[in-house]
């Protein structure tokens, strides 16, 4: 965070139900952390609203959380694009990491 920033950074939070068949596994974790890294905000991921919180941009930590199918993922973010970041991440999880059917062709 920039030292010159005077106003408090915006906060945002959101949750999504993890429906992916094998939980927050290798491929979903790659997608999630890559998406998180596109935002400047600090983004935390927790398996409950009380934490513990882990860095959503670290695949090592996201994988270590071993979130199983059926868990609720909690996101909280702090920074200029916090709201966009949470919306994007919740959307990715709700779309089941874009792995389902739907585009109907190659």
């Amino acid at each position: 965070m920039s030292a010159t920033q005077k106003t408090p950074a915006p906060h945002a939070a959101g949750t999504a139900l993890l429906t992916h068949a094998v939980g927050l596994h290798a491929r979903p974790s790659v997608k999630l952390t890559k998406l998180a890294k596109q935002f400047a905000a600090r983004i935390d991921l927790g398996l409950s609203d009380a934490g513990p919180w882990i860095d959503a941009k670290s695949i090592v930590k996201v994988m270590a959380a071993k979130a199983p199918q059926g868990s609720t993922l909690h996101f909280r973010a702090e920074g200029a694009d916090a709201a966009e970041a949470v919306t994007a991440l919740v959307g990715l999880v709700e779309r089941d990491f874009d792995e389902g059917a739907g585009d109907g062709g190659a």
Partner: protein, 535 residues
């Protein structure tokens, strides 16, 4: 160095002589001399950066989505500073870089290895792979996994299917394994590709040897063969080349018996990559697509899109010819990490094939959807393995219909494919009329082992596991007769269909569809041309 001869089991026929390429250079030789903490930290950073470049090169060259996804996961893990942070701390406390890397990743590997979920447990292998990759750069052993020289012999403890598929076999080559099994996926790939392979050689001490001769017919390997061995090799290689010429020509011709009966010749494949460079005109379609390889990757089961693309690629190659795709046949001799139950006392009689798919409907449904979508673009047929009771077939057909209906409701292009069964459990063969399947394909390998109660990879009973046992042939004839009477296709897709020695028995049993490895097509067509179907 003197020649040394090793005897194991044959896994893929043919002979090859070439330079030894070690599969696993192993925990690289001499210990490094450790420097100051600052030097050690710099060494680890440099090794990680070099490993990352190596992974990126591999990913750029990856031929399929599965391999690319596995590599991407490893790249992302290695890019994350959190991975090596504990090692850097240990280095700061005075530990040498290699020991620090071992200690720091050891904890993370154990953490995954102890996970409840089998998919997370399997990630321990990815971390070990990453650790060893960085270690090789740290200890200067990198580059050992160099490109395959033309005609090289891949030698080591075991070989993964992905490594086999990564290797360029166009200039020949062979495989010599200390462990391994003739029933492994890699052996299947080697037979299909015509790469000579010997397994079960025991300890392979390769340090002082430069060249190896692999005799895949006898399951024998000679390290640094002498002049006499070389001369014998050259003579055999020349004879084989002559012997190949006739089948190669025959492969492009029709499959017709001496008395003019047309026989359908179909291919067995395990991966779309096997079709590269193959002319679809040599066959009447694909009789068996094994899907276990798609599921065997390190990143969990393939998603619907990856499966759809793989199935569609095969249908596109077949250009309108039928393509029979077998749903996941994990279990038995084909364990899939994270899917099959480890520790079954007898996996061949356990939760395998359709039994596993029905027990894991969330994974089966994804495969059925991908198949129904691919069926919109080609003559795709779906085949269920290890079916024992009609209720299993009905349950699978119901699931397929449900998925097709859901796809249609979502306006996704799809088609209800024909649904058939493998006949490989004696109960299904004996009561074949109780199955409302659209077609039947006889899996003669498993049928033989279940009828004779003998495994072909157990040397002491291998002779009893004879597909020409009259009991096996009688069951095949009964299934063929049922198919003929009800107008449903009956093919044989086990290894006996690709062995010219059994062509006469199968013709006599009424079989008119033979499905085999691509490199068997010529020899089988030649054998059929010399036989009379009505004899």
């Amino acid at each position: 160095m003197a020649a040394r001869e090793l005897t194991g089991q044959p896994a893929a026929p043919g002979i090859a002589l070439g330079p030894i390429v070690r599969i696993d250079p192993g925990p690289a030789g001499p210990a490094r001399a450790a420097g100051t903490p600052a030097q050690e930290a710099a060494a680890l950073e440099a090794a990680a950066a070099a490993a990352l470049r190596g992974l990126a090169d591999l990913q750029a060259a990856a031929q399929d989505d599965e391999a690319a996804a596995i590599l991407e996961f490893q790249i992302e893990m290695l890019r994350d500073p959190a991975l090596l942070e504990p090692a850097m701390q240990a280095i700061g406390a005075g530990m040498p870089a290699d020991a620090a890397l071992h200690a720091a990743l050891g904890g993370q590997i154990e953490d995954f290895a102890a996970a409840e979920d089998a998919y997370f447990r399997a990630r321990a292998d990815d971390l070990r792979d990453l650790r060893d990759r960085v270690l090789r750069h740290l200890t200067g052993a990198a580059g050992a996994r160099a490109a395959m020289p033309p005609g090289g012999i891949l030698a080591g403890a075991d070989l993964t299917p992905s490594r086999f598929l990564e290797t360029d076999w166009r200039a020949g080559g062979g495989i010599a394994l200390a462990g391994g099994s003739p029933a492994s996926h890699v052996a299947m790939l080697a037979r299909a590709r015509g790469v000579p392979m010997a397994v079960g050689l025991g300890t392979l001490a390769l340090e002082d040897h430069a060249e190896a001769l692999v005799d895949g017919d006898a399951g024998r390997v000679v390290l640094d063969p002498g002049a006499a061995e070389r001369a014998a090799f050259a003579a055999r290689a020349a004879t084989r080349q002559d012997a190949r010429a006739a089948p190669d020509a025959a492969a492009r011709g029709p499959a017709v018996t001496a008395d003019g009966i047309a026989v359908r010749v179909l291919l067995n494949i395990a991966h779309p990559a096997e079709l590269d460079g193959l002319d679809p005109a040599i066959c009447d379609g694909i009789g068996l697509v094994r899907t276990e390889l798609l599921f065997g990757g390190a990143s969990g089961p393939p998603d619907e899109e990856a499966q759809y693309r793989a199935y569609r690629a095969i249908a596109d190659w077949a250009a309108g010819r039928p393509v029979t795709i077998r749903t996941l046949d994990a279990g038995g001799d084909k364990p899939v990490a994270g899917l099959t139950e480890p520790g079954e006392s007898n996996p061949f009689l356990g939760v395998r094939g359709i039994r596993l798919s029905l027990a894991r409907p969330e994974i089966f449904a994804v495969q059925l959807r991908a198949l129904a979508r691919a069926a919109a673009h080609g003559e795709i047929k779906v085949m269920l393995p290890m079916v024992t009771a009609p209720a299993e077939f009905r349950a699978a057909r119901e699931m397929l219909a449900t998925e097709v209906a859901a796809l249609r409701a979502a306006d996704v292009a799809c088609r209800m494919p024909a649904l058939g069964i493998m006949v490989e459990v004696p109960a299904a063969a004996l009561a074949v009329e109780s199955f409302a399947a659209d077609f039947f394909s006889i899996g003669s390998n498993d049928l033989t082992q279940y009828v004779t109660a003998s495994a072909r990879d157990i040397a002491g009973v291998a002779a009893l596991a004879d597909p020409a046992n009259p009991a096996v042939l009688r069951l095949i004839a009964e299934v063929a007769a049922h198919g003929a009477a009800t107008g449903r296709e009956v093919s044989v897709c086990g290894d006996m269909a690709g062995d010219p020695a059994y062509a006469a028995s199968l013709l006599a049993a009424g079989i008119r569809s033979f499905s085999m490895a691509p490199n068997a097509v010529g020899a089988v067509k030649l054998a059929l041309a010399a036989l009379e179907a009505s004899a």
